[in-house]
Symmetry: C2
Subunit: 234 residues, 2 copies
């Protein structure tokens, strides 16, 4: 359980991470403009542990997700709120409880092991390999990473490309506890999802997760089922 | 084919669409901060036309995707580029050709019909229904929308939630050509993908698309296959 407190939100006039740009252009003769942000492409990796027959995910506190929930708790009337003249309820801007009704830490999400493509000298496979090692503690050669597919993420804002890989690991490959780079401020928990619970996990909306988790579990079910049995009663 | 020209990029100090904020917080006693953006939740809809046995997607020019490709073309040396003293190639910041090697318009992506949840009075189903009508021209009651699942999109920056629906439509439901709201500047092309080509389309990386398209096609294959036959030779 993450303990989150002393929350303070300020406008951000200069960010090293979020740099908005505006592009003016003509589309089929019509003048248009669009605000976007520059970012790196990324890789994500579905990790399957063949010794324990489980998927290996990362679980981390995501401030953006937490703030998104906080915003909603402000605009949704609490049960005891009184209506004002316009009929809108006034709600205090209180931080949400650290635990949701479903027992999940607020703002914590389950995700595939992933990372930014910010090292121009390395192949996508090499970058993916490093993330598997740093975040999840498994040391596997880049050649063992199987490319699943690629797609555009954040088409409205960043337009970046994500490439998804599949990695089979065994307990013999486990060389550390993972958890990310503490000097980069990463606080990542490695989570194992047993194969027979995977489809229930994927479609349980009470468990906050990315689409990558759901898609990759189903990809595994469809493409690896000759090798491994997965429960499909969903 | 989209004709894109007169491109000009400027830094964006004030944007109505991208508003960066910074949150300072304590996580398990450690002081941290994170830059994020406020945005709306969203809905997306997998549309299956039962008369024509095809999926209905939207195809549109995405400035952020175009700029992302432009950035890459600047940092990758053109074949005739001369190396400078540091061994790095100098490349002109020229806009990429309007057509890629694969014959796709640059910056154009295939996506599920989708929209922002920005009308607090409407249910997610109602908002999804409106998008199906405005973008694709099919008029179906909200009650016919089946919820597939929900997940977090953009966990790093926006943290917003997307809910995915499935809608079966027939040619009888087709009341307009779709194409989005021209007054909102939407230039959307409605595209039909025949059921028997869907899996090939999903995994063809030369066709730029979102993960939502790939995931939903596979979801259909796994969950609707008793009703409809889909080719699986991928």
């Amino acid at each position: 359980m993450e303990e989150i407190n002393n929350i303070e939100v300020v406008p951000c006039t200069e960010s090293d991470y979020l740099k908005p740009f505006r592009v003016h252009y003509n589309q089929n003769g019509t003048k248009k403009s669009w605000d976007f942000m520059r970012t790196h492409d990324s890789v994500s990796v579905l990790i399957f542990n063949t010794t324990l027959h489980c998927f290996v995910l990362v679980k981390q506190f995501r401030p953006a997700v937490y703030m998104c929930e906080w915003e909603k708790s402000k605009t949704q009337p609490p049960q005891s709120a009184e209506k004002n003249e316009e009929g809108a309820a006034e709600a205090e801007a209180a931080a949400p409880a650290s635990e949701s009704q479903e027992g999940q830490s607020r703002g914590v999400t389950y995700e595939l092991c992933a990372g930014l493509v910010d090292k121009p000298d390395l192949s996508l496979e090499e970058i993916a390999r490093q993330e598997v090692l740093e975040e999840c503690g498994y040391d596997v050669p880049a050649s063992k990473l199987k490319r699943i597919t690629s797609y555009r993420s954040g088409v409205g804002v960043t337009g970046s490309k994500q490439t998804m890989f599949y990695a089979e690991v065994s307990e013999d490959n486990c060389v550390s506890a993972g958890g990310g780079e503490p000097r980069e401020g990463e606080l990542i928990e490695v989570v194992k999802v047993p194969l027979h619970e995977a489809m229930t996990f994927a479609y349980d909306e009470r468990i906050p997760k990315t689409m990558g988790v759901i898609f990759s579990f189903i990809w595994f079910h469809n493409n690896m089922s000759p090798k491994y049995k997965i429960s499909t009663n969903v």
